[in-house]
Amino acid sequence: MTSLGAFDTLRLGISTTTQTGVSGESTSVSQAWESAYYHFIAPISRAPIATRFADLAETWKEERGPSSSLTEIVLQPAYQRIIGLGPRVVPSILAEMSVSPDHWFWALTAITGSNPIPEEAAGDLTAMTNAWLDWGKQEGLIA
């Protein structure tokens, strides 16, 4: 199988070089072929879990926009897909939370069935994050 490095070289060569005498139709066909080839050799379903989480998290942050509705925020498609990744994604979520706290609590509870957030911490991003990071350490999921 062709390596990703070799493919990237090929892809960049085709995509970025202006080729004299190549029609627009030919360019379109080439780009469609490149896209299909790229998805064949590196589909998201075969990417490492941390990479898939990072991609989906980035999409989620775009999707939620300026919404204040936590209901709407956790129902965004990318957030639901992160939940769908299952227990394997929990260490990635906890690692992300430790450097950039965000509203991952719904996903963590949905995936693990746990809820370490004390009642008095409801809505407090810092306290909720700390509660989940402590939980992660107790479970041996993060250092």
Binding site: K61, P66, S68, S69, F105, D124, M128
Partner: protein, 145 residues
């Protein structure tokens, strides 16, 4: 968030001046900000992932938000016109009538909003309407103590 992304979400801000007045933070949202709180995310029916005042309805409908601000001493009023010795808030709903946003009036008569996980901005009501948050359907006020 960049000004261009804010304007993309609220197109009227393109021709109505607005000012970014805080750093971006996910510690609080618009409802908390309108309530004068900066360390909690307020939203009904999401406990413990979000805060909601005790003994206030938790359905995501306008009455629940009105009740939440009543619990803070606000009462409904007819307009967002500035009144001496009163603090005002404005409640926004989308085209389905679902609450989306709250803004609070500044001493200048303009309004302040926290844009979800983005920044606070200083704006006019007209400038923020007809965008992601829909329109204002309820104003509330309470005496300034």
């Amino acid at each position: 968030m960049s000004r261009s992304k804010i304007v993309a979400s609220f197109p009227r801000l393109r021709s109505n001046p607005f000012y970014i007045t805080s750093p971006e933070t996910k510690q609080y949202n618009c409802i908390a900000w309108a309530a004068g709180v900066m360390d909690r995310w307020w939203w009904p029916g999401m406990k413990p992932f979000a805060y909601w005042p005790p003994n206030v309805p938790t359905r995501i409908q306008l009455d629940s938000f009105v009740a939440a601000f009543r619990s803070l001493g606000y009462d409904i009023c007819d307009s967002g016109t500035q009144e001496p010795r009163f603090a005002k808030i404005a409640l926004f709903v989308d085209s389905n009538g679902t609450p989306t946003h709250a803004a609070r009036q500044l001493p200048s008569g303009r309004w302040s909003s926290k844009l979800g996980p983005w920044e606070d901005i200083d704006h006019t009501i007209f400038g923020l309407e007809a965008g992601n948050y829909g329109i204002v359907v309820q104003y509330m006020k309470r005496p300034v103590t």
